[in-house]
């Protein structure tokens, strides 16, 4: 992994600087000013402030973070819990990994601010099991915080402010990125998302009031407190303020992470990554991680913020931008995508368990040149059976990309069926 993004703004300003990964270096770079600013305010005020900053969750759903905090019950005797979602498993997303490796204290500071705001006594940082090194980085940071007396009792000298942080490793299941799947997993169960109600704020981890936010979401929080809402809103769009770490992958010259304001046009994001590789023409872009419907070259001017992407029938998701050039066979892409969702469905809901398998088998057959004309109709209608009908959004995530690929690249599929072979000799291999 890179040690720093190719373009940096506030969040990744110090990434690549080894010292920033230590407590002393973090403090020297202005760390914990956000927390100190928060401690000078009433908890409710801090929540209000984060709410008014317009900070949207960076895990995919884009929900207002402060608003989410405000759902935590007040005057409830039960211990309150924060969960930091570091399960980053959305294909095309690798930003949280960098934050954990390069800015672990940003996450911890964000957690402490949220703890102050919500009255949470304990945080769990749930990190996907494959992220062995990021887990080490965050564990080391937490240990340094304890050594310095920054965690436990009287956090930062604030009498009565107690907080503990536990780093918890996942074990290889995409669905644990879904917040209630994560909570089940944290409780030592299969990571099968929970039906709602009840919602996590009332009945979350271990039945306790819980707020779950993404790694990057927490990492932005200190800057809102230390530099102010107005400053924060100076980045990004009205509805999507701040920056994000766009992860560009696929057929570009310089894949990697780029910290850019939300709302940066897609064209510019791709340009930062050196444009399409080998001077090939662009064929398709998945803008926000693999669950999101695909965009085409005609969409290049779309500002990369949820409010604009949703107008185009897709979403910002995790900001994982996957670029595909004109050698790419979209039937193959559908095969890879549908395999993933078939593999990762938790298996609870009928539509998802059965539908993901069906879609993949259809894609496989079409790609292999054994498809039948009716298979395309089915490939259109099976996602419709799944979408919006399940406990969590996984089925939607499995349905959307297939729908998007068919909408824009139907001829790729038709060709496989009518010719019995792939029309793209230079396409990536399966």
């Amino acid at each position: 992994m890179q040690t720093e993004p190719y373009t940096k703004l506030y969040l990744s300003e110090h990434y690549g600087n080894e010292a920033f990964r230590t407590l002393a270096g973090y403090e020297a770079a202005g760390g914990f000013q956000g927390l100190r600013a928060a401690l000078a305010r009433d908890p409710e005020e801090v929540t209000e402030l984060v709410k008014s900053s317009g900070l949207r969750g960076r895990g995919g759903a884009g929900f207002n973070a402060g608003l989410k905090w405000s759902f935590m019950p007040k005057g409830d005797e039960r211990m309150k819990v924060l969960v930091c979602n570091g399960d980053e498993s959305e294909p095309g997303s690798f930003k949280d990994r960098m934050i954990m490796q390069q800015g672990p204290f940003q996450i911890l500071e964000g957690l402490l601010i949220a703890a102050w705001a919500t009255g949470a006594r304990r945080s769990y940082i749930y990190i996907r099991g494959e992220y062995q090194y990021p887990i080490q980085c965050v564990r080391k940071a937490v240990a340094e915080m304890y050594d310095k007396g920054y965690l436990g009792r009287d956090v930062f000298g604030e009498p009565g402010f107690e907080h503990d942080i536990v780093v918890h490793s996942g074990a290889g299941a995409y669905i644990c990125g879904e917040e209630t799947g994560l909570l089940e997993s944290l409780e030592g169960k299969k990571g099968q998302p929970r039906k709602k109600p009840p919602f996590p704020a009332q009945h979350g981890a271990f039945g306790l009031p819980t707020t779950v936010n993404n790694i990057e979401t927490f990492a932005h929080v200190p800057y809102i407190l230390s530099r102010g809402v107005e400053w924060f809103r100076g980045f990004g769009t009205e509805k999507s303020p701040g920056t994000t770490l766009f992860g560009v992958s696929g057929h570009v010259e310089r894949p990697g992470l780029f910290e850019l304001p939300l709302g940066t046009p897609l064209r510019e994001v791709i340009a930062k990554a050196g444009g399409v590789r080998n001077n090939r023409a662009l064929k398709a872009v998945i803008p926000g991680g693999m669950s999101m419907p695909v965009l085409t070259p005609s969409d290049l001017d779309v500002p990369m913020a949820e409010e604009f992407l949703s107008e185009r029938g897709t979403h910002l998701g995790t900001g994982g931008v996957m670029v595909m050039d004109d050698t790419t066979c979209m039937a193959r892409v559908a095969c890879v995508i549908s395999y993933f969702f078939r593999d990762e469905s938790c298996g609870q809901c009928t539509q998802c368990r059965e539908g993901t398998g069906w879609i993949h088998k259809l894609c496989e057959r079409i790609e292999a040149g054994r498809g039948r004309p009716r298979d395309l109709e089915l490939l259109e209608s099976v996602p419709a059976l799944m979408e919006g009908h399940t406990i969590c959004a996984f089925a939607d995530a499995a349905a959307w990309p297939i729908k998007g690929l068919l909408r824009h690249f139907r001829s790729d599929f038709e060709c496989h069926i009518s010719e019995g072979s792939c029309p793209f000799p230079e396409s990536f291999e399966l």
Partner: protein, 504 residues
């Protein structure tokens, strides 16, 4: 209370219930309100995964599952809208994707919810020619249950049953996604005293009992409501019979008694209804016809009455309330000592199984019989209902015994009259919580045998006991019982509701 409207009909329902719970409590689910479901079961926790019970709620953009949506006052629900029906057809099609369409060779056919709903909602198969997911066929999960994995729709009712009800936790769903499989822990078996309930709650033909599997097509069976007589619980059952043969017992829901469950022992007790029966009347070692046995018993009784010699009665906690009422009246008319009865005791648990291994100990108590296993006093004749320990009758000269099974015949019996099992006559039992419950005949013995009440009445008639001129009529007797014994007021067989009623 909340008022909800479903398909234009308004219902008053309790607060805090889910839509399905509310409909279930009102008793309208699947009759007035057709809201199909697989994973939801009234006695198990909510799973919410089959997604079949989705409904449209006004003001809520997405369809919601009725099993997990709490009712709200003023809620307007649609179960028949195009969106709902489309979603339902979607679930059905996806469930049929990997489910074999071989109903003609599936034992569940005829009582399969997948078959029923596929028919009801017009989805006969999935639009696919892809091969189905391979799965294990017909393997034994344990001593009682056979599993056809390919038929499993992963509703997890059985998993929840084993966790929440039997609390034995043998079953789980392993792997994930499309590879998900219901199984036991490697090398372990599904083996608990309630194991066969999983076959009842399995909505498809995945779990079947070894005992019933492939014995008979269910459409040849008719169900007669009855009561299990294996312990004091009195679990409500349906006896499924065809051509005067019973093929199985299945639990009949009674929330006040057995919920929707029955223990395996009780379920299998149907076998004892026909095995080892006492089929012939006897006088001494001589087989006689029924009338002769009755008249012999009557003569001996008459002699004892005439000689003013003591007569004793041993009652049975397997006899019905009506039988015991008749017996009690006879005791009064004969002026003998109070009747006694003995109880055999065994294992018990916190769920259903009671230690008292008889169905009507409370009925016997309520009717004035005393529990005792002591020897009866010196007597010229003893009228014995059912099994008795021989040492209790050492002081008795003539022993008239009314039994249903050979094994119950006492070595010292002088006159033996075969009687009907509770499967063969109408009556009621009073369970351990003093709840009177009616049972109906579902078999006709292929030999001559009368109910206890009938046989007792005939003996009394033969003995010309005053006031015993009329033949036995269980309906009349039950009315007399209801009038004569305050505890049974209003609980005659015709008034007793299907779910039974507590004694007064």
């Amino acid at each position: 209370m909340a008022q909800i409207t479903i398909d234009g009909e308004t219902y008053e329902v309790g607060d805090g219930l889910t839509i399905l719970e509310a409909l279930d409590q009102l008793g309208v689910l699947m009759n007035e309100v057709e809201l199909p479901h697989y994973c939801w079961h009234p006695k198990l926790s909510v799973d919410g995964s089959c997604r079949l019970c989705q409904v449209e709620i006004e003001g809520v953009p997405k369809l919601q599952i009725a099993c997990n949506t709490p009712v709200r006052d003023g809620m307007v629900i649609h179960t028949k809208s195009e969106r709902v029906e489309q979603a339902r057809r979607g679930v059905m099609e996806l469930l049929l994707l990997n489910h074999p369409l071989d109903c003609p060779i599936c034992d569940q056919a005829g009582e399969c919810k997948l078959q029923d709903y596929a028919f009801d909602y017009g989805v006969k198969h999935a639009r696919t020619d892809l091969p189905r997911r391979p799965a294990k066929k017909g393997f034994e999960l344990g001593p009682t249950i056979v599993f056809d994995q390919e038929r499993c729709i992963l509703c997890r009712r059985c998993v929840r049953f084993c966790r929440e009800v039997s609390q034995t936790g043998e079953l789980g769903v392993f792997q994930r996604g499309e590879r998900s499989l219901l199984e036991t822990f490697p090398g372990a078996e599904l083996d608990n005293p309630y194991s066969m309930n999983v076959a009842d709650i399995c909505p498809v033909g995945a779990l079947t009992t070894k005992d019933f599997r492939f014995k008979v097509r269910v459409w040849f069976l008719d169900d007669v409501p009855s009561i299990c007589n294996q312990c004091g619980r009195g679990c409500n059952i349906n006896a499924s019979r065809s051509n005067n043969r019973v093929y199985r017992f299945v639990p009949r829901r009674n929330d006040a008694v057995n919920q929707t469950w029955i223990c395996d022992h009780g379920r299998m007790s149907y076998k004892g209804l026909t095995e080892g029966r006492c089929t012939e009347a006897r006088v001494g070692s001589r087989r006689v016809n029924y009338d002769e046995a009755v008249s012999t018993a009557g003569d001996r009784l008459r002699s004892a009455i005439d000689a003013k010699r003591p007569i004793v009665v041993v009652a049975s906690p397997f006899a019905s309330n009506e039988d015991l009422f008749v017996l009690q009246r006879l005791i009064g008319d004969l002026g003998c000592e109070p009747g006694t009865f003995a109880i055999e005791r065994g294992d018990s648990d916190a769920l259903l199984i009671r230690a008292d291994k008889c169905p009507n100990a409370e009925g016997a108590r309520a009717l004035g019989f005393l529990e005792s296993d002591a020897a009866v006093g010196e007597a010229a004749i003893a009228l014995v209902l059912g099994r008795v320990a021989p040492e209790r009758l050492v002081n008795v000269e003539t022993q008239v015994q009314l039994v249903s099974h050979e094994a119950d015949i006492s070595v010292s019996a002088d006159v033996v009259l075969p009687v009907r099992s509770h499967a063969e006559y109408l009556g009621s039992f009073t369970n351990f919580e003093r709840r009177a419950q009616r049972f109906s005949p579902f078999l006709e013995p292929c030999f001559e045998a009368w109910s206890f009440g009938d046989a007792l009445t005939e003996i009394a008639r033969a003995a010309k006991v005053l006031g015993w001129e009329q033949p036995f009529d269980v309906i009349r007797v039950s009315r007399e019982l209801a009038q004569a014994v305050p505890a049974f007021a209003g609980l005659d067989l015709e008034s007793l509701p299907a779910e039974g009623a507590p004694l007064r």
